[in-house]
Amino acid sequence: MAKEDQKEKKFSRRDFLKTTGVATGGIIGGSLLGGSVGMNLNSVMPAQEEETSQTEETGGEETGGNENPGRMFFHNDADFETISQAMERIFPEDDLGPGAIKLGVPYFLDMQLAGAYGNNTKEYMQAPFYEGETTQGYQSRLTRAELFTLGIKALNTESQNDFDNDFSSIEDGQKDEILTKFQDGDADLGIPRAAGKPEDFFRLLRSATLQGAYADPLYRGNRGMEGWKMKNFPGHQHAYIQQIDTDSFQEIEPQSLYGGK
């Protein structure tokens, strides 16, 4: 843990600014950004070299990040395996690169479900609850964590019913059939539709998968920034002012917020 903390500290932006000899105020007030053409901060980024050597020292994990960073929400291995398999079908590994599992997306979801996202702390959750029109949006009393818990259970019930096996043990094509039932609202979540809808679970499953694939590695997904690399998104770059007027496509090595992978 101590090592991880050190690593994070080493690449924090604050430290970067210190090492380049300018405090934030200095950059903003000074000539660096004063003119119409500023300086590309990346060209003086010292962190990339250090990062390489650090990776070698620690043995160099292929995809970066921690293969098993631990779980905060899923305390049942089978549940975690079920949701991992479902996420992999949403964003599968292919010749372009890793899928949800290798990207660490299930661990991203795990941390999200344990916090504000899972507990709907920023959403209006006051009663009474009524089933609304689709244009009125989500109207269930279930938090996202509760909906995922029900959804995982229902994934297994549906696949037991249709294929006599748990979701994580059926064929890819069969998994897709099950997921499609959720997407279309045809699956049984085990509670009345007025209380919670399978398509809402599917919507969260899909969006969380994409979020985990492409969020900063800070959130435990997008391992090795492989999600960004597939998409050619350079992540956290200080500025593009030196390239913004170039007509040709620029391939830029991605950078995460705190130097994490």
Binding site: R13, R14, T24, I28, G29, L33, G34, G35, S36, G38, R89, I90, F91, P92, D94, L96, A116, Y117, K122, E123, Y124, M125, Q126, P128, G132, E133, T134, T135, Q136, G137, Y138, Q139, Q183, R206, L210, Q211, Y214, A215, Y219, G227, M230, K231, N232, F233, P234, G235, H236, Q237, H238, A239, Y240, I241, Q243, I244, D245, T246, F249, Q250, L257, Y258
Partner: protein, 574 residues
């Protein structure tokens, strides 16, 4: 127990663009101003790790906490209004600077046609064209573009806007204070196509500044670094004009202005002895729970339009609009926005991940009444634009028609198209209809036990027609730009509160020259209460084909003039 504070000359409810402008102008004029801000303090120094799409863009770090307050919504009166439980269609800002912190910075002046839409339409096409009989309630704003022009100029100079003249916009008394931003490959393709089709493209007026600038108040705004994190983010460089880097410090430097954060105003207090006056506001300190009364000679409501409306309504100031009888004015003319666009697929890869919130080109050949509507079944139109605001990977997953929304094919397509698609779209006006309005909800309340605002809204035939028309025009531009394949937008049916569309909500507290059809006069002074002003996009009698902030800023400067005049001689302004 309510603690009474020392009286101030002016109190603003909310400190974003409008509150900041009122505060700066009034404080410079020697008035003592208190800004009550229900969120917390913040500024450039708080955005040092802001390049985080998940935290800011997806989880809405800078937005209102919906667990405390939201609105309820229904498409039509025969439905039960239900709370907007998650943020979606629009993003309610929060904290010092409000939505002026997380905006993109596209800073257009509404057209001369917008302010006199009823009389100009009637004169050119006849009264029938206004479709009063179909429930449309198109009205003039009680102010003309020419009257508002000096205030537009003032706002642009405060914000340092980077731009170039628009041959199809209103007359200008001066150039933009800073030159346009840098033109990118995709912008040049759009410009070339638009020129060859006979349109008049210009660089979009931008609050992400092309060069460092010192405004007339002596405040510095830095040069944009094109980092591509504007909308939904704060600017770590102080290069996006926002209240925290312009009007708020200008107000503070006078020594006459104080911001009181964590202060949620719950009521405007009416003068019990004089029914033409208010005495101040009652607020709750959100950290301690204490209640205060802030007496003031002038009260200015400067929060987002839903809250401006709500405070008037719960304070029982003015008469609520009734869609049956069409009596009352508070809540009427709520409008939104609709987009007509097309996506083009290319072999070439573009630097879509670079950009700035207001980096774009646009033309107004299909906006306002810049084109003939004689044979069209709608009025108005929209500003047709291409922007390079910085595509981010979680939110940008463009696929061809018929592609599944998940799985292998989706993954391949969305990755491939991330840098290979461009979009052209018109940001269309929506016009008021008698069935679209704000009210107070009878069932749901906020964290202070005050009813939520209830929105009844649906798109109209007018909206769908203007959308359909502009989709086709956008697709033509895309074709001219050389796209291999074009995906046109689908014409919407019912307004849906779920997907993000636009934070350009307007109306509810509209301005005008007729107290029977408006809430405030053209100084944004309340018709019933002389020392109460209400300013913001809620004053718009309809929504135009542009982003609203320049017009909001101009109205705030107009309002500030009214506040200062009123403070001098305590009379109605005309």
């Amino acid at each position: 127990m309510v603690t009474e504070l020392d009286k101030v000359d002016v109190v603003t409810v909310g400190v974003g663009w409008t509150g900041g402008i009122i505060a700066a102008e009034a404080a410079k004029a020697g008035l003592n101003v208190m800004g009550l801000e229900r969120g917390h303090e913040r500024g450039t120094e708080d955005y040092q790790n802001v390049h985080d799409e998940y935290k800011y863009a997806i989880r809405y770090e800078l937005m209102q906490n919906m667990s405390k307050e939201t609105i309820t919504f229904r498409n039509t009166r025969d439905q039960r209004a239900l709370p907007m439980r998650e943020m979606g269609s629009f993003l309610l800002g929060d904290n010092l600077g409000g939505a002026g912190t997380h905006w993109n910075g596209q800073t257009w002046r509404f057209l001369p046609y917008d302010f006199e839409i009823r009389s100009m339409t009637e004169e050119k096409y006849g009264e029938e064209k206004l479709k009063d009989d179909e429930g449309y309630r198109i009205q003039n704003w009680g102010i003309t573009y020419d009257e508002l022009e000096p205030y537009f100029d003032k706002f642009e100079k405060t914000a340092g806007i980077s731009g170039e003249p628009n041959p199809l916009g209103g007359d200008r008394s001066d150039d933009y204070p800073t030159p346009p931003m840098i033109k990118t490959r995709s912008l040049k393709m759009f410009e070339e196509a638009a020129n060859s089709m006979g349109y008049s493209p210009i660089m979009m007026p931008s609050a992400n500044l092309s060069e460092a600038y010192e405004n007339p108040d002596g405040q510095s705004i830095q040069a944009c670094q094109y980092c591509a994190f504007c909308e939904r983010f704060g600017c770590e460089y102080g290069a996006k004009s926002s209240p925290e880097v312009t009007v708020i410090p200008a107000a503070r430097e006078t020594g006459n202005f104080e911001v009181r954060p964590h202060s949620n105003v719950v009521e405007v207090m009416k003068d019990e002895d004089d029914d033409s006056k208010v005495t101040g506001v009652r607020f709750i300190d959100t950290q301690t729970g204490e209640e205060f009364f802030q007496p003031a000679d002038v009260v200015v409501l400067t929060s987002y339009l839903f809250n401006n409306y709500k405070l008037l309504r719960v304070s029982e100031i003015g008469e609520q609009y009734d869609p049956e009888t069409e009596e009352g004015t508070l809540g009427r003319n709520y409008c939104y926005q609709i987009f007509g666009g097309a996506v083009g697929f290319f072999d070439e890869q573009f630097n879509t991940f670079m950009g700035a919130g207001a980096l774009g080109m646009a033309f107004d050949d299909f906006n306002g009444d810049n084109y003939d509507h004689s044979d069209l079944d709608f009025l108005h139109g929209g500003n047709m634009a291409i922007t390079q605001t910085g595509a981010r990977p979680i939110a940008t997953n463009t696929t061809r028609e018929g592609t599944p929304s998940w799985g292998a094919e989706f993954k391949k397509e969305s990755i491939e198209n991330y840098t290979r698609t461009l979009r052209v779209q018109a940001q269309c006006a929506t016009l008021p209809h008698k069935n679209n309005y704000l009210d107070l909800d009878e069932e749901y309340t906020d964290a202070y036990d005050i009813p939520l605002v209830q929105l009844t809204y649906n798109f109209t035939d007018q909206d769908r027609s203007v959308q359909k028309y502009t989709i086709d025009r956008a697709a033509e531009v895309m074709e001219e730009m050389g796209a291999n394949e074009i995906k046109k937008d689908t014409v919407v049916e019912d307004y849906d509160i779920v997907p993000y569309q636009s934070t350009h909500n307007t109306g509810g507290t509209v301005m005008g020259d007729d107290p029977e059809k408006s809430v405030v006069n053209n100084y944004l002074q309340h018709w019933d209460r002389d020392n109460l002003f209400v300013v913001g996009a809620g004053n718009f009698a309809h929504n135009g084909g542009y982003n609203p902030t320049a017009t909001v800023g101009a109205l705030a400067y107009r309002c500030a003039e009214g506040v200062i005049e009123y403070a001098e001689d305590n009379r109605r302004l005309e």
